[in-house]
Symmetry: C2
Subunit: 229 residues, 2 copies
């Protein structure tokens, strides 16, 4: 049964919302999902995140927490009896935070623009494609350094950086399906390839990340709106 | 004597570099300051932060850490025998992180553009001025909520959010001096007004934040370059 103490305001296909859901699953915390409607913002959302007016928002014991990476850190710190999401070593924590910020600041905006068709013209598309591939190669390298040959960025188990990057897996696959780009490739990015399989099939993840076909359909619906903006 | 174990790569007038220096001072950690030259980037910087190629970088025991807020969190977690920089309560930590991210994402870019004269035209200036004032009023409100009537955002002592916001005090004063804007005002923002006095005169801070006149001179030198970009 869903806990009424924890609520997540979001939309099912939002990777940043999925990030929060995966973190809660890792800690075995039940929550109530409050689905926002496409094209409008609920009063609860506006009241809970008056500064940015954006999903996800998590409400815990009546108190709202905003911004997905901040929420994931909060989840790690509020439910200390579950497995650690952030690494324990200060330097490993800094590295995980660095790459999570990189993904949000550099990788996701390009992936999003690509998914919603707001990159127009062959030249702009080539630039965006190159940026995405550059990002993927950096993450392949980060996987080797952070994961140290183990299964996940977090080592033997899913951690902060796995959640931060892994929430985009569905959208990466949707972009692959809609274009000629192969983002995660068995030969070019063998580390990420194996990681993506393991992450995507994990119990905390598999029912959260939307099906690729669903995201492709959504992208087609959203594309004309994105272009009009 | 400066510790050779901790190095900070930066420039003295950079508020993000000052942020790291203040955090190290709060923990009484000595460090060697490696000053970057205007208009060029050292090999050490490029090697230590190959992804963003930006200051500040802190090197601890030979390992580089990048991004000022990530460095401050690292300092808090690596030197646990000093006073805590982040609050201990998970919700207070989330709030501190939220407002620190707000300052970096929304407030600082506008302040910076204003300081370096890259906001051109009366209309754009009016918009930027309004954005800055909106930000200041939000921070006044955050001070009341996070500080709960005490001296600092962090309560009785300087904490994460004090460092995150306070590093911009010098530049805020420089902008005030160069324009007709009064950002921190005894009547309109009494909370921030008292806080700014206390923060700026604190031992960990007072020798780090550059003099307003120095920053005004620098802004005048930088303005033509900013416009040319």
């Amino acid at each position: 049964m869903a806990s009424t103490d924890v609520k997540v305001i979001g939309k099912a296909p939002s990777p940043l919302v999925n990030r929060v859901q995966i973190a809660l699953n890792l800690k075995s915390v039940d929550y109530e999902f409050l689905e926002e409607q496409m094209g409008s913002k609920s009063e609860l959302l506006l009241k809970s995140n008056p500064v940015h007016k954006k999903i996800p928002v998590m409400i815990h014991g009546g108190k709202p927490i905003c911004e997905s990476l901040i929420i994931v850190q909060y989840i790690d710190e509020a439910w200390t009896d579950g497995p650690s999401i952030l690494p324990l070593d200060p330097y490993a924590r800094a590295m995980a935070r660095f790459w999570a910020a990189y993904v949000d600041d550099k990788f996701y905006p390009t992936l999003r623009a690509f998914a919603f068709g707001s990159v127009e013209g062959e030249e702009a598309k080539a630039v965006a494609r190159e940026q995405l591939m550059e990002g993927i190669m950096l993450l392949e390298d980060a996987f080797a350094k952070c994961g140290k040959g183990k299964d996940f960025f977090g080592g033997d188990t899913i951690g902060y950086l796995d959640v931060a990057i892994g929430c985009f897996l569905g959208w990466m696959r949707a972009v692959e399906q809609m274009s000629s780009i192969k983002l995660i490739d068995e030969t070019k990015t063998p580390g990420l390839f194996g990681w993506a399989e393991r992450f995507g099939s994990n119990d905390a993840v598999k029912d959260v990340i939307p099906k690729t076909e669903t995201l492709v359909e959504l992208a087609k619906t959203m594309a004309p709106r994105a272009k009009a903006q």
